[in-house]
């Protein structure tokens, strides 16, 4: 009964989305105010109906209703309650439903808090969101109904993929989806602007906070995903250039570019058609990611069970949405009036450079991800493109981005003098050279790229701090004056400083953990000790322990430093009852300075166990840096200029969304 209610609510949601997708935009075109006004109640209804459907599916998972096919193939009665709930989106059908839920929630928020948007623009934006919703609802209803019944119902479910039974993985899809779907709002604004044929600073002021919200969630989702890969895959690596990781990274690069180019539209009324194009591309890349993950054209362990009919449907949807919006762009964008002019050395130009490089980086990742497919389609040849391609192409592209990030904020709008700015940065430049030389000296036989990484860290971090100190005239004005300036600095300025510092911290974490890590692989018997970094790890033994729906081999390692006890670590290898797959639970002792990372493997049959112990200095800063970026984005969203003229309730909600 509950499942049927959910199914019915989804069908009703499709009808409501159809209304939301057509009437308001037609009303805005024909001047029919009643149709325009329909957008708000329709979006509320759309959200409520999808929420009911999502609630019904959640209920089916919570009570383990195995007559529902999705529950039977993805859940199990012995599973802990937390993973029953997160299991709702740990499968193809449920994750699509979550996607639609978030889409409807965003469209509801735009309708509720878009009170100061021109009614025509709001109607068009909501219609575009409604149409995207129609596409996804058709997809779910026609090819992937989450409420399909099984008769007879099985006695128990087949269980969740054990890799998914983990807090990091359970919670990162919602954040990623908030990011992907958040980009649909920027996309809707872009398409609405093309239909209206008008882009002005007010438009950019509206788009930027929504893009920032999406960007923050996407950053958080990617960081959580990479953190999960770090501690769960058991290899100490944190990024594998897997097609599914790339699927989230490409929209992130495009969204990063969009966040920056929207500043130029807002402040200088320039780069309009480029910004529109970026908004379309960012969302297109999110959709493409969905296609790649669910159609089976690329092999990936992350991929959901694939089905060719789904692939055909998503491709059709992709052609309608991306092809349609790009065609609209081709016909309408040339009519957009160009705005302010600027010289090749100026803040605008540095943002253009940043955009070009980020877009190229996104294109490079796209090429690397699709190249095997291209070659196969054209010549029938099969190849795999691995991390070597991405590393060798990505580092040269990202290095100039980082170099420019330190310079850009110091340049003034319209026109500036590069040598003058570099002259002001001479202290930072000196620190960078010292850092590079020091790294080179200490590196020993480590990778030479570490020199570059440390130089970029100091250059970017130093540049960000210098820019902040420059703004508040630190040490150049009396302390009281600096304090007053610091307090009056807009939050978006703080947001930028914090986000850029975050990038520097992430680069530092990547560089140091890669260059100075210590890795020991060996077979250990109880009582044996291995030295990693400055620590001694003593293997005390291993035992079998039972979990709720798995059994595990748990090792005990005593960690000491110079003879003093530090901690005891318990790595596990888990075998789940319902699956032949083992998972590693690395035991990690994270500290701000270094992580100790211990993994236990198969016994060798003679009383020893294969163990791997890593010492990874500063590795946590990869994720701490990401959190800085998210925090910077949230600060920027809360900037006063995004709130001016908005009702007070919007202020609260946006701030809450930014810190969630």
């Amino acid at each position: 009964m509950i499942a049927e209610i959910g199914h019915f609510a989804l069908i009703l949601a499709l009808l409501v989305a159809l209304v939301q997708g057509t009437l308001p935009v037609l009303g805005a075109w024909r001047g029919n105010d009643a149709w325009v006004a329909l957008a708000r109640p329709a979006s509320a209804m759309f959200f409520v109906l999808v929420a009911i459907a999502f609630g019904c599916l959640t209920e089916a998972f919570v009570v383990s209703d195995f007559s529902v096919a999705t529950v039977a193939s993805n859940s199990h009665s012995a599973k802990p309650m937390l993973y029953k709930v997160t299991g709702v989106w740990g499968n193809h059908e449920g994750s699509l439903l979550l996607w639609i839920l978030i889409l409807s929630a965003f469209s509801f928020l735009v309708a509720q808090f878009g009170g100061n948007l021109p009614p025509g623009l709001r109607a068009r934006v909501l219609s575009v969101l409604g149409l995207v919703g129609v596409g996804f609802l058709l997809f779910i209803l026609l090819t992937s109904n989450p409420f399909e019944r099984l008769d007879p119902a099985p006695l128990d479910g087949r269980g969740l993929n054990p890799l998914l039974q983990d807090p990091g993985l359970a919670f990162h899809p919602p954040f990623l989806y908030l990011g992907y779907v958040g980009l649909s709002v920027s996309f809707a604004f872009a398409v609405a602007a093309l239909i209206e044929g008008r882009v002005d600073p007010a438009w950019a002021r509206w788009v930027r906070p929504w893009t920032l919200v999406a960007w923050c969630f996407l950053t958080l989702g990617i960081a959580l995903g990479s953190w999960w890969a770090y501690y769960e895959l058991g290899w100490g690596g944190w990024w594998f250039w897997d097609p599914v990781e790339n699927a989230s990274f490409m929209p992130w690069l495009a969204a990063t570019a969009l966040v920056h180019s929207a500043i130029v539209v807002e402040r200088r009324d320039a780069l309009k058609s480029w910004t529109i194009l970026l908004a379309i591309i960012a969302f297109s890349l999110s959709l493409l990611g969905t296609f790649l993950v669910r159609s089976g054209v690329l092999n990936s362990v992350h991929a959901f069970a694939t089905d060719p009919t789904r692939g055909v449907f998503i491709l059709g949807f992709l052609i309608v949405v991306v092809g349609g919006s790009l065609t609209l762009f081709a016909t309408r964008a040339p009519a957009l009036k160009a705005g302010g002019m600027f010289a090749p050395i100026s803040r605008e130009a540095s943002l253009v450079l940043n955009n070009l490089l980020l877009a190229t980086a996104a294109g490079t990742v796209l090429l690397g991800t699709l190249y095997p497919l291209f070659l196969d389609a054209l010549t029938g040849m099969k190849v795999t493109v691995g991390p070597p391609y991405f590393n060798s192409v990505f580092i040269p592209l990202f290095t100039p981005v980082v170099v420019a990030v330190a310079i850009g904020p110091l340049l003034s709008w319209k026109r500036d003098d590069l040598l003058g700015v570099l002259g002001r940065l001479k202290m930072v430049l000196a620190a960078t050279v010292i850092a590079a030389l020091a790294t080179w000296y200490w590196l020993g036989d480590g990778p030479v790229l570490a020199v570059l990484g440390m130089a970029l860290t100091v250059w970017l971090g130093g540049g960000a701090l210098f820019e902040y100190a420059d703004r508040i005239k630190l040490f150049r004005a009396p302390a009281g004056e600096s304090w007053r300036r610091a307090r009056n600095l807009p939050r978006s300025a703080y947001g930028m400083t914090v986000a850029h510092l975050g990038l520097a911290l992430t680069i530092m974490g990547i560089t140091v953990s890669g260059a100075w890590q210590d890795e020991k692989l060996q077979v250990m018997r109880p009582g044996e000790t291995v030295r990693v970094g400055a620590y001694d790890a003593t293997f005390k033994g291993a035992e079998r322990v039972a979990g709720p729906n798995y059994s595990a081999l748990r090792g005990t390692f005593e960690i000491t430093r110079d003879g003093r006890p530090v901690t005891v670590l318990y790595p596990e290898t888990r075998t789940y009852d319902t699956s032949a797959m083992d998972t590693t639970e690395a035991a990690i002792r994270p500290t701000p300075l270094s992580d100790l990372y211990v993994v236990i493997g198969e016994p060798d049959g003679q009383g020893g166990y294969a163990t791997r112990i890593y010492y990874k200095p500063l590795v946590s800063w990869i994720w701490i840096g990401s959190l800085f970026m998210v925090f910077g984005g949230a600060l920027s969203i809360s900037d006063r200029r995004h709130r001016v003229g908005a009702p007070s309730r919007r202020r609260r909600s946006v701030a809450a969304a930014g810190t969630a």
């Binding site: 594998f240 790009l326 081709a330 389609a377 099969k382 692989l521 493997g601």
Partner: protein
């Protein structure tokens, strides 16, 4: 001419969409291999570090066997590994491992950790033997007949379905000299 650059994005997308469409009809797991029904290439490899039996072409003669191409850097190999372990335990058919372009210490640590299902292993450190076998992606699994000829090839991680419906029937057919379909 100026409007041409506005058309460029949609033109690029058209190409991508066309390729994706072709990609949909391609099955990433089926390829015509020029080596089907040909003898395995001539090779002789030392074992993965810490193991005793190496792998050479002559080891593939005498009985039906599987050759599984794996590497520690290959995430998808982890997905099919439990199935190989199961095969190894049951002893239905000997499974040999071709360790493709891997560091010796990584390969041996990988096998220590996840278990070693292989009867023999060959450390193909520079990937030359893999190239002779026509390997283009890891993992891959070859079914070799008793005369040392390649009977079937499976691309990508094996699922239980692949194993039950394709690989094992092929092994059974080869053993009973029936016609092999794969």
């Amino acid at each position: 001419m100026k409007s041409l650059r506005y058309v460029l994005p949609v033109a690029v997308f058209a190409v991508v969409a066309a390729v994706l469409f072709v990609g949909l009809s391609l099955r990433p797991d089926i390829i015509p291999s020029a080596l089907i029904n040909k003898p395995v290439p001539e090779f002789d490899l030392p074992p993965v570090r810490g193991r005793e039996l190496g792998l050479a072409s002559r080891d593939l003669e005498g009985e039906v066997s599987l050759v599984n191409v794996f590497a520690s850097w290959c995430v998808a190999c982890r997905a099919e590994h439990p199935l190989l372990m199961e095969l190894g335990r049951q002893g239905t058919v000997p499974v040999h491992g071709l360790n493709y372009k891997d560091k010796p210490e990584h390969a041996s640590a990988w096998l220590d950790r996840f278990g070693d299902p292989y009867t023999r292993t060959g450390a193909d450190i520079d990937g030359r033997v893999g190239i002779d076998f026509g390997v283009y992606g890891v993992p891959e699994t070859f079914v070799i007949d008793a005369d040392g000829r390649i009977a079937c090839k499976h691309i990508g991680p094996m699922t239980r379905q692949d194993l039950d419906e394709k690989i094992l029937p092929a092994v059974a057919a080869l053993r009973s000299n029936a016609e092999v379909k794969c």
